[in-house]
């Protein structure tokens, strides 16, 4: 049956479009990954990269944290994404306020908080209609929305196609140590279209970098947003024992 493979392709397309919309041209690779060292991924590397979205799903819940520059201000987010349920939740702190965010692939809600970290269980999860405010999740609207969509798209109930990753231009950028773990850093393919035979992707044009450990687990994601050359990094971690559930479906069932 075909749908998951289509869904995977679709997710990649959405991601590519979202990043294309918000990514300028001509940015240069960070100094930490000299473009001259980048090369096409090997079969083994493509297989590792292809399994990363599945391993998020397999893990269920991952911790996520990122700092974002937008509109002249900065914000910091710390929370979780539940890849089994397709739900994200956490605390966003900006210069002016702190609030809780709860989102899925379609909508994002906001809830006031004065807590130093996002409380669990999710407050007012059974009162989405009146205790939370929000609306459609629109990647073209802001860097934050793009980031939330991107985080949500990083789970899939089966692996991506490693051959497709190779043919569409995924790159090996380097090996690094991160928090005591050996990780391989990849540039995602510029789109889901196959490159011409013999061509390799331009490492300077990469807009997503995946930091993947030897078990296929994503430990960090770097993304270029909003047409800038700067990278925004998301740190992923284990979230043993955390369950977000799916308040959206629960609300639907209760209505």
């Amino acid at each position: 049956m075909s749908a998951p493979r289509r869904a995977v392709a679709r997710a990649a397309i959405v991601l590519a479009i979202a990043t294309a919309l918000l990514t300028g041209c001509g940015a240069t690779a960070g100094d930490d990954f000299p473009a001259g060292e980048a090369r096409a991924v090997t079969t083994d590397e493509a297989q590792l990269l292809a399994a990363t979205r599945f391993h998020n799903f397999d893990a269920g819940v991952r911790t996520v944290a990122f700092a974002l520059e937008e509109g002249g201000g900065s914000s910091g987010f710390t929370g979780w994404v539940d890849y089994a349920n397709g739900v994200g939740y956490g605390r966003l702190a900006t210069a002016s306020d702190t609030r809780l965010l709860l989102w899925n692939s379609d909508v994002v809600g906001s809830h006031p908080t004065d807590a130093a970290t996002a409380p669990l269980p999710i407050p007012d999860a059974d009162r989405l209609a009146d205790a939370w405010t929000g609306g459609a999740l629109t990647p073209s609207e802001s860097r934050l929305h793009t980031m939330l969509v991107m985080l949500g798209s990083l789970g899939a109930d089966r692996p991506d196609n490693p051959l497709l990753l190779q043919q569409s231009g995924a790159l090996w950028l380097g090996e690094r140590r991160l928090d005591g773990r050996e990780v391989t850093v990849f540039a995602g393919p510029p789109s889901d279209e196959a490159l011409p035979a013999g061509a390799t992707a331009d490492p300077d044009a990469a807009s997503v970098r995946y930091w993947v450990d030897a078990t296929g687990l994503l430990v960090r994601l770097d993304v270029r947003l909003g047409g800038g050359a700067d990278w925004t990094s998301v740190e992923f971690g284990d979230a043993t024992g955390v369950e977000l559930g799916d308040p959206f479906t629960a609300a639907e069932a209760g209505s």
Partner: protein, 442 residues
């Protein structure tokens, strides 16, 4: 805040072959005809070679690789003809892809036998027999890509045997024959597959026998896409999946439409497994999905306890379910027994029933089955509504019970016959609910 749109799972809960993406062939030249360079008649693992792959390099065409119990974290490609790979203990000789590697064992040469071992945790397929392979490795449906199978460039691999193989917790397919002819999948077991436990795809004049197998806790137990003519599916237990069996035609792969299978004496019951990966389109509680399958014979199968539908006929683009014959099946305790949700564009025609009249959707579905009479159809959303449990990671579906061993572990290697010895279908009887129950979960 707004709630998300209502999920369409129920609307999608009918098996339909929509837009399977094509095959990845790429631009690399076809590999030269497979041939072995090894010279050993028998290679023992680990005594003579530390890994199965190393043993395959050593074995001569027509030779035997004997694998001791143990866990083998490797990916085995068999390109030497007429080789037998045999585990000494089916339950403890494990090829483990560790949730990272795409396949466990792939045969691209003619005449390969794989028997008495377990293949687990492959991200794509546990066991694959395929005629499609090139410098970038083996290929099959499941590899999203751009180009359909070129049947002239990649002629079907000939003669294969998969016997007493257990395939568990594999990402797409457990045991998979693609672009292959003249083979047998026998007395094997598959669970925890995110697509299907067993799969036969893209062949004509296939001459493939699927018999004595158990598939459970898969998204789909047995799947056929564009595999036609002499595919004989007899005496299997395809129960306790989300969907028991599917017979699919689509344009995105070569050799459409699917036609002419013989499906007799199978147990297709209780396809309501919650400890299983989600089916691609959210299907659940369905016995047999015929997605534009044509001219198949379904006889003396026990199709029961599938709360959505026993059988669902549907169409794909302009491909219609046509000319399927249901004869002497027993339907019981299904949501509806036989449903037709084919589209106006590709309406069901000439699907006939012989034997007890089941409850159909719509009523009167089977009153006219002449070749020129369009059969009445219902919409998918009129099928019984079910609560579909969330899908489980294919790596986390519980392991199966121990499976029986191959009879003669000392048998010499053999050349497989050019044509499969098919069972006498007339002698295949309706199974009871106990068919192969000793190999299934409680």
């Amino acid at each position: 805040m707004p709630r998300r749109p209502r999920p369409h799972a129920l609307a999608r809960a009918v098996v339909a072959a929509v837009a399977v993406l094509g095959l990845l062939v790429g631009c690399t030249p076809a590999a030269p005809a497979p041939h072995g360079t090894g010279t050993s008649e028998i290679v023992h693992v680990p005594e003579d070679a530390p890994t199965i792959s190393a043993a395959v390099d050593l074995v001569a065409p027509g030779g035997l690789v004997v694998v001791a119990p143990g866990t083998y974290p490797e990916q085995v490609l068999v390109s030497t003809p007429d080789v037998t790979i045999r585990g000494l203990d089916r339950n403890t000789t494990l090829i483990d892809a560790e949730g990272i590697r795409p396949y466990g064992i792939v045969a691209v040469a003619d005449g390969v036998s794989i028997e008495n071992l377990t293949v687990t945790r492959a991200t794509f397929y546990g066991v694959l027999v395929t005629g499609m392979h090139d410098a970038s490795g083996p290929g099959a449906h499941g590899d999203d890509g751009y180009t359909r199978l070129d049947t002239e460039r990649f002629p079907p691999v000939q003669r294969f045997s998969i016997d007493h193989v257990t395939a568990t917790n594999n990402g797409l397919y457990g045991i998979y024959a693609f672009d292959a002819q003249h083979g047998v999948i026998r007395d094997s077991y598959a669970s925890g597959s995110a697509d299907s436990g067993f799969y036969v795809g893209q062949c004509r004049g296939c001459d493939i026998l699927v018999t004595g197998n158990v598939a459970e806790n898969n998204a789909v137990g047995f799947e056929n896409a564009n595999a036609s003519d002499s595919v004989v599916v007899v005496g299997n237990r395809f129960s306790g999946n989300r969907v028991g069996m599917t017979f699919l035609s689509n344009y995105q792969e070569a050799l459409s439409p699917q036609r002419g299978n013989t499906v007799v004496g199978n147990l297709v019951t209780g396809n309501t497994a919650s400890d299983s990966p989600a089916q691609a389109e959210g299907a659940f509680g369905i016995g047999i999905g015929v997605g534009a399958g044509t001219e198949n014979l379904f006889a003396r199968n026990l199709i029961a306890g599938n709360p959505s539908a026993g059988v669902v006929l549907s169409s794909t683009e302009d491909l219609a379910p046509v000319g399927n014959l249901f004869e002497g099946n027993v339907f019981a305790d299904n949501g509806v027994d036989l449903a037709n949700v084919a589209s106006d564009r590709a309406p069901a025609v000439g699907n006939c029933l012989v034997g007890d009249a089941p409850r159909t959707l719509p009523e009167g579905l089977l009153e006219g089955c002449t070749p020129d009479t369009r059969q009445p159809s219902a919409t998918r959303d009129t099928l019984p509504r079910l609560e579909v449990p969330p899908g489980v990671s294919f790596l986390r579906v519980a392991p199966p019970p121990a499976q029986p061993q191959l009879g003669d572990l000392d048998a010499p290697a053999r050349r497989l016959p050019d044509a499969v010895a098919m069972p006498d279908i007339a002698n295949v009887t309706l199974p009871t609910a106990e068919l192969l129950a000793d190999r299934a979960r409680a």
